[in-house]
């Protein structure tokens, strides 16, 4: 077995040193009834055989890069520079543990400090943590944090919040005497959330760009929250948008959560991703998740450590701000490397390329008979209203080699008015030819 260094001779010598006759003596505490299990599983295989069987499974999937691709809704196809994947596979990053021994983990700690600074700048907030599992779980944690800060129990969800995010918030909060109030589905971005806020409201959770792609100015909603002692939680599922769109911090958000997958990370069928979590300095002791902070060593040299751990489960146990015990380390590294390669100018340019690709795609598709573009303002994603059920259209387009977007019926199976909606994302990866093929094929299948 190629991964196991002990030889049979080693094992014999080691059993002697331990002072036992057989390895079974070390498993003697396990009830015999549990030790005689028969497993219906295959024997070990060489690399070649494993590559063959897993390669066969991979070959049954249609990769995003294999043709015209317009699927978004919380995960986006972007080009990742080759440098990113090379660096994150370095042994010293890939096979390190959580930096609990800071003297020999400054590499991890310094990039986390840089990551936190980048995320704070990007979201327009004062501080960011070292990341959450993903955007959706960060969203639920933000609501729990709002409850800790405001001591209130009511959480208002925008009707244009990604339905998976809304489900995660409901699942996580309703356990715990929280009241979650979802607004009705809001396809056009015109809902009036401010009128739903009352003296019991802990927070309003709103996504920008929203799940239908609409852009909003959250400033007046932030004012309405603050006038009532509530917090505004802004959700960003497309991090690249922050290179073109005014940051939630500038609009008055108190907590910003985001999905950072777009920067540096592969689609990977939904995970692992990287949850961005940023807030105001005054709330740091109520924040969940790992935080890296600057300090000095005994020689006075600058260094970094994990800090404010009295918020965390390994110290506070049942009084912790969250049970989270990790961050998204390697995905965080991918994010920060890609962001460093982009820099301010690169990010702005990339964001505008995305926006222009989406505008072009919307113009082409909106010209197809019977198709209406729902949005006025959007970033790289928009919604079409089709004359027929979008699930069938997406299926028919997939047969023509085009992955067209997310049909409303997939995300809102119980909302009939979503049936004909198709949410389309266009990034820098979409070529003119891809867009042409999409619009021609859409005309054919309708």
């Amino acid at each position: 077995m190629r991964y196991l260094p002990l030889s049979p001779a080693d094992r014999g010598v080691m059993l002697d040193v331990v002072g036992i006759a057989t390895i079974d003596d070390l498993f003697a505490d396990i009830p015999v009834s549990a030790l005689n299990a028969k497993f219906n599983l295959p024997e070990h295989q060489g690399e070649l055989e494993v590559e063959r069987s897993m390669g066969a499974m991979a070959a049954k999937n249609r990769a995003a890069g294999a043709g015209p691709f317009f699927v978004g809704c919380g995960a986006y196809k972007h080009h990742v520079p080759a440098t990113v994947d090379h660096i994150i596979q370095r042994s010293e990053f890939l096979t390190a543990y959580t930096p609990y021994q800071p003297e020999i983990a400054q590499g991890t700690l310094q990039y986390l400090f840089e990551f936190q600074t980048q995320v704070a700048a990007l979201t327009g907030m004062e501080v960011a943590n070292a990341s959450m599992y993903d955007g959706s779980t960060g969203c639920a944690e933000a609501a729990l944090m709002a409850r800790r800060i405001t001591k209130r129990r009511k959480h208002i969800l925008s009707g244009a919040l990604h339905p998976h995010y809304a489900s995660v918030v409901r699942t996580s909060l309703e356990l715990h005497e929280n009241i979650v109030v979802p607004a009705p589905i809001d396809i056009k971005g015109t809902e009036d959330l401010a009128s739903m806020i009352d003296a019991e409201t802990a927070c309003v959770i709103v996504q920008n760009p929203d799940v239908f792609g609409n852009l909003r100015d959250l400033s007046s909603l932030a004012d309405a929250c603050h006038a009532n002692g509530a917090l505004l939680v802004a959700v960003v599922t497309e991090a690249i948008s922050l290179g073109a769109v005014k940051s939630p911090g500038e609009m008055g958000a108190d907590i910003v959560v985001g999905e950072g997958q777009s920067i540096g990370n592969a689609l990977s069928f939904g995970g692992p991703y990287v949850g961005l979590f940023a807030t105001r300095q005054k709330y740091i002791r109520q924040m969940p998740g790992r935080l890296c902070g600057e300090t000095t060593d005994i020689d006075g040299k600058r260094g970094y450590v994990l800090t404010l751990s009295t918020r965390e489960q390994h110290i506070r146990r049942d009084k912790a701000t969250s049970n989270i015990c990790t961050n998204s380390g390697l995905c965080t590294l991918a994010f920060t490397i890609h962001m460093t390669l982009l820099g301010e100018n690169g990010l702005r340019r990339l964001a505008m390329l995305n926006h222009e690709a989406a505008c072009k795609t919307a113009d082409m598709l909106g010209g197809v008979d019977g198709v209406e573009v729902v949005n006025n303002a959007y970033f790289n994603e928009f919604t079409l209203r089709l004359p027929t059920n979008a699930v069938e259209v997406v299926d028919a387009l997939a047969d023509r080699g085009i992955l067209a977007g997310v049909p409303g019926g997939r995300l809102w199976p119980d909302v009939p008015e979503a049936d004909n909606l198709l949410i389309v994302a266009a990034t820098e990866c979409a070529t003119e030819e891809d867009i042409d093929r999409f619009s021609v094929a859409l005309g054919e299948v309708l």
Binding site: A37, T117, V168, S268, G346
Partner: protein, 509 residues
């Protein structure tokens, strides 16, 4: 300590500034075409002010991160004996498989017919996990171990609700030696947590446990093997007692690697258990994540499992993504909801399955045996100078207390920091909390006998040095690492969590 070099560099250890200090904010390491500037539909919320993001060219980027990497310890460099963390070898085949476009470059919301192979992979991994644990159901979506705990405890909460007992069954029992995530998770689900005392052998005190049971018990959370590295011999009695009292048995699967392929938790009365794919099944820890924590369920909790899940009908795989689609309550399906967007840590699933297929059931069992043998070998060698916390053999990790340091002035922390100068990552310190000055060593199956001999030799030398009264050397350690001991108190008291630009000349005046 006096400055050794003019630059602060020490040969291969190069000092490295923050990106914010070396970039002029105009550089970039990507070449992108210029936008046309013709159309904007940003609806009046275009970002106009500066963001504050530095950029570096590609060679600068490469050098920055390579220099940083050289300040990290890693399993590929040497033993990483962190007890309860399971730092085993991370096969590179796993990385290669996860990067196949058919796995790495697929979107979670593509039509099902375009991702049949991905769903097959999830289903195959689920089969392995169910088979290895002897449990009938598994939720694949939890993103990490603690998230899996949440999944398990939420299912328990939902089951109690279905029985109409969620208001009365509010107390969860957990040993004092448990991971901090256990009480934190229980609290997050609205339970109160009650400690179970340990007996003198380091295991749950069965009589004390029984005495704590009552009509308000929701369940018990037990790690097995426990965090002292010992198998809970009374596990069947514990599960029978908690079931008899009307509660459920949550098993923290952090240490499943000790028994994988040998014994099945399902045969021990477990109702729910998370599995850390990043521990037992070798997906990389990556400097602190991402993890993955699929959670297996017994028949009694299976109906409450979260969405999504993968099913197969006539050779076609389907994803059940919404509560509406799980079936009606009349069918006995009462999913507690959704834990995360999309379907879980696919990248980790691919790596874990590559590990399983490579090992096979024979290799998985051999890995457990070698991990346990290695830990006992270390225990046998180190007991010459160090003090094991409990008598007898251990499972996959061995626990020492600080009695051997008594009177030396050297504390567990100093001992650990001295290991750094010897080229080793320290063991887990001060955990579990039930042992004074705990040192928990988990070598894993990835260490050769030669490597263990060197490691134990170093620790024995350090123990002798401590006993010889060389306390100053320990308190000054580490001396040879990229940083020496860091001031964590000030870091917490006056938190600096981000870089800020230095004050300009005017501001200083």
């Amino acid at each position: 300590m006096s400055k050794i070099t003019f630059t602060g560099n020490k040969a291969l250890q190069i000092e490295e500034a923050l990106i914010f200090e070396v970039s002029d904010f105009s550089r970039t390491g990507v070449d992108l075409p210029a936008p046309t500037g013709k159309t904007t539909r940003l609806g009046g919320v275009a970002r106009e002010s500066a963001i504050g993001l530095p950029g570096l060219s590609e060679p600068e980027t490469m050098r920055h991160y390579v220099r940083l990497s050289q300040k990290n310890y890693a399993i590929d460099m040497g033993p990483f004996p962190l007890g309860s963390c399971t730092m085993k070898h991370n096969p590179r085949l796993n990385e290669k498989m996860a990067r196949l476009p058919g796995f790495g470059d697929i979107h979670p919301l593509q039509p099902e017919k375009t991702v049949q192979g991905a769903l097959e992979l999830i289903d195959t991994l689920a089969f392995w996990l169910k088979e290895l644990t002897g449990m009938p159901a598994v939720a694949m979506s939890p993103k990490a171990g603690a998230h899996g705990e949440l999944c398990g405890m939420m299912a328990i909460k939902a089951a109690l609700e279905a029985r109409g007992e969620s208001a009365t069954r509010t107390r969860v029992l957990a040993p004092e030696s448990s991971h901090g995530t256990n009480p934190a998770t229980a609290a997050q689900c609205g339970f109160t947590v009650d400690n179970i005392p340990a007996d003198s052998s380091g295991r749950i005190d069965l009589e004390a446990f029984r005495a704590k049971l009552g009509p308000d018990i929701a369940g018990v959370m037990v790690t097995n093997p426990n965090t002292c590295g010992l198998f809970e011999r009374d596990i069947c009695a514990i599960s029978e007692a908690v079931h008899e009292a009307g509660g459920y048995f949550y098993c923290d699967g952090a240490n499943f690697n000790a028994i994988a392929g040998k014994a099945r938790p399902g045969d021990l009365g477990v109702d729910a258990m998370h599995i850390n794919l990043h521990k037992t099944f070798s997906t990389p820890h990556g400097g602190g994540g991402p993890g993955s924590g699929p959670t297996v369920f017994s028949k009694s909790l299976a109906p409450y499992a979260p969405v999504p899940n993968v099913i197969s009908e006539n050779g076609v795989y389907r994803l059940v993504e919404s509560l509406q689609a799980t079936g009606s309550e009349d069918d006995g399906v009462k999913s507690f909801g959704r834990l995360t967007a999309f379907h879980g840590q696919m990248g980790m699933f691919v790596r874990a399955l590559a590990y399983m297929l490579s090992h096979g059931i024979d290799g998985v069992a051999q890995a457990a045996e070698d991990a346990v043998l290695n830990a006992n070998y270390v225990l046998a060698l180190l007991r010459k100078e160090m003090t094991p916390a409990f008598d007898g053999y251990c499972m996959h990790e061995c626990l020492f207390d600080d009695r051997f340091l008594k009177g030396t002035g050297v504390e567990t922390l100093d001992f650990a920091k001295a290991m750094i100068d010897e080229g080793y990552h320290p063991m887990t310190m001060y955990f579990p909390l039930v042992v004074h000055g705990a040192m928990l060593i988990e070598p894993t199956e990835s260490e050769s006998k030669h490597e263990l001999d060197l490691f134990c030799g170093a620790l024995l030398s350090l123990a002798k040095r401590a006993k010889a009264g060389e306390v100053d050397a320990f308190r000054a350690a580490p001396e040879h690492s990229p940083c020496r001991r860091l001031d964590e108190t000030t870091a917490a008291r006056k938190p600096i969590l981000r870089w800020t630009p230095p004050p300009t000349v005017n501001e200083v005046e």
